[in-house]
Point group: C2
Chain length 446, copies 2
């Protein structure tokens, strides 16, 4: 076993019995805190011998129950391996330990005038290892991609305790199967990520933030299409629906208009001349497509204020709860407006309250049901609504999860999206790597 503190008392285990996902928890048998890779390897070797389940865990901010322990399992908290080891300005990379927070990494590279774009909502506390295990997204996906697009290499402890390095500082590498990309987003089921080598890009010199208001959701969606058609790829294209706007305004008092169907937050970044031109053009496109108002931030302070409308959306909805069930369906961008209308109709038909916000440029929606887990009749209605939403998502060529992962929360929907042949391949890959099935069992398709 790994040295260092081992928690086993019930009261110490409680914080590790849940993550950021509503209404799911289970008690582990113990929690350990490795401080180096060799300890992770020894723990996995021991777990294989003893047939004990091991649940790797970062900060526990996940939203699909991916780090919920199975009863009696050992939670391996990786937060003590949190060093930023090397910023390489020549090769534009940063090497970090798995437990470093996303924000700590972003700040470390920012000090070198470089940029790590992925910015999941929980970036202040989420760990890089967790981001890689879940392939986390964020608000900059359309222009900059997601976590996967920045992982150049990683040190992984395989389920049986072997330590391997996948990838390197080379921009191109086609030597052998690309295992690295299977491990990214494998939700802690194929190995424990201990170090990550991330790609960086030059920090954009300028950014412009604006907020547009629409009386109809369709007009907002048409505006997005028109912006893309004008060959502009903004770094942020986020939206809030009427319910979310009201909750955000009650919570954050930003001065949002309450009589509109959609608010769209837009940001463009890059060279100052391009930013000036694109932001002017985006403002014009909003007006041409029937927005009721556009507000362009005059300075950084106002930009932060406008962006906070979107950044606080989940907290604002969660506050209304008491239980918030957050969805993560994603459709091709062209299907966005029809998907939003579908969700609103399903909620209305079931007499349910739902707030919708998300990454409009990515087609990634976060419908958030405001319910109460003690009201079993209503929870059943929510479950039925989710089933309808998932079916429609798949019908539109979408995915059941854009950035939160499958974990426990989406497990039952995965076969609908992928079909048996792909699930069989996934199970076989897992079995090949983890024949004893000790690593984060019961998740995804297990």
């Amino acid at each position: 076993m790994a040295p260092g503190p081992v928690l086993t008392a019930q009261e110490d285990l409680i914080p590790y019995s849940f993550d950021g996902t509503a209404a799911i928890s289970q008690m582990p048998g113990a929690v350990v805190f490795p401080t180096e890779t060799a300890q992770v390897a020894r723990l996995l070797q021991w777990a294989n011998r003893e047939r004990v389940a091991v649940i790797p865990r970062g900060s526990g901010s996940g939203l699909s129950g991916g780090s919920i322990p199975t009863p009696g399992s050992v939670v391996m908290s990786l937060v003590k391996m949190d060093r930023v080891l090397e910023v390489d300005r020549k090769n534009l990379t940063v090497l970090v330990e798995t437990g470093a927070t996303t924000e700590a990494v972003a700040n470390a590279v920012s000090a070198a005038n470089l940029f790590y774009p992925p910015d999941p909502g929980s970036m202040r506390i989420s760990t890089i290892g967790g981001n890689v295990a879940e392939n986390s997204g964020g608000l900059r996906g359309l222009k900059y991609g997601v976590t996967r697009n920045y992982v150049m290499g990683m040190e992984v402890v395989l389920p049986q305790g072997e330590v391997v390095w996948m990838g390197n500082k080379c921009v191109k590498d086609v030597a052998g199967y690309n295992l690295k990309d299977v491990f990214i987003g494998s939700e802690g089921t194929l190995g424990v990520i201990t170090r990550v080598l991330l790609k960086l890009i030059p920090k954009p010199a300028a950014k412009k933030t604006m907020l547009a208001t629409f009386a109809e959701m369709e007009k907002a969606a048409e505006t997005i299409s028109a912006i893309i058609a004008a060959q502009i790829i903004p770094c942020t294209l986020e939206f809030l629906d009427r319910t979310t706007i009201k909750c955000v305004e009650d919570y954050a008092h930003i001065g949002l208009p309450l009589d509109c169907d959609a608010i769209v937050l837009m940001e463009t970044d890059g060279h100052p001349a391009v930013v000036a031109e694109e932001s002017a053009r985006m403002e014009q496109i909003c007006r041409e497509n029937g927005c009721t108002a556009v507000r362009v931030a005059k300075d950084d302070a106002e930009a932060v204020q406008l962006a906070s409308a979107r950044r606080t959306a989940f907290s604002a909805l969660a506050r209304v709860g008491p239980t918030t069930i957050l969805e993560d369906v994603t459709v091709p961008r062209s299907e966005l407006a029809s998907m939003i209308r579908f969700i609103q109709k399903v909620a209305k038909d079931g007499g349910l309250r739902v707030g919708i916000f998300g990454h409009m440029g990515d087609g990634n929606l976060h419908p958030t049901f405001l319910t109460d887990e003690r009201n079993h009749a209503e929870i059943e209605k929510v479950d039925r609504a989710l089933e309808l939403i998932v079916a429609e998502t798949i019908r539109l060529g979408g995915t059941i999860t854009g950035e939160h992962g499958v974990g426990l929360a989406k497990k039952k929907f995965l076969p609908q999206q992928l079909g048996e042949a792909q699930l069989r391949v996934m199970r076989e890959v897992r079995r090949a790597l983890d024949p004893a099935g000790i690593l984060n069992p019961g998740k995804m398709f297990d």
Copy 2:
């Protein structure tokens, strides 16, 4: 078996006994030309029953022997499945059949004012399916990435004949393991790619091309570092060494200076204002770092002429031959100059002729040995030189292949780079998918 023509006569099989790789060939037993996915599936089902090896093949322009048949195998030529099926302007995607040439795809999307960046050297004849199977690179890797970065989805026939769709038009998708990215670059060993959904980006509005001459390779490398340090990410940063310059000039008569150690081709693209600013800054950086001359293209015709210095490099060297052994080692960008010097020293020590060119911004070098396969003593020296180059590449944190693949040519070097644990995982993944081992056997690590 698939309907349509089946070649079995010796003289018809000869063109399918080799690909673009020097000095490797083997005769297949037959060649078939499926025209639809269902035929591919039936052929694989038949091959499983009969235990016949199947070698998927595009245009045969590969440079690592990845589509060389095993004796008696069936070559499955996919060039008849070559339709461009849909350019989707709203979602910025194009759906194509596997046998469409890279150039045909680039042209189809260009007509819609969109851009498909990957441009492997053989793009006029190479197929998209081949590009995906090899994860092909090109001259725009530093800024735009490689084929992998543009594959949003694909239809694949698994080795046992099941047809699956991996991926979709969503910008984000984390539902299940990312199998798609293992198939990309799997060199026809995990499945047969039949359709590909590619991501597109807006066409850059402007481009500037320039060519700089350096008396010393180190100065060229320092210039590249200084450009990156100035936060400029050019779309092209290519170089030729002294031997290659001479061969290109003899062949193409571009007017290149012959008294220099390195020529660097640089291109920046994007918004006109940014291109103007960046190209001026790059020219200045070249001068500050001791270039002997810089030539900036005044118009498209001159840009094409300058770029042709690099585009013709391989042909120019191949003409000198009689046998050209083309390497593909890649190192972190910061190690580039030392790697070039190492290769030059190894060649000199062995009395060998080598021309070096490649993607300087990617650290991807193509040392090309000019030799004669009938001269066994010299070929042995080349083999020894390659062994030294590979060992040095790995020592510097590089990879044995940046964009050409492992195939047969690099198979013996793969264990050095990856180690046994990763190779074991790769073999297990392959066995899980292709238990009979019928698909492109004997390649990579098989």
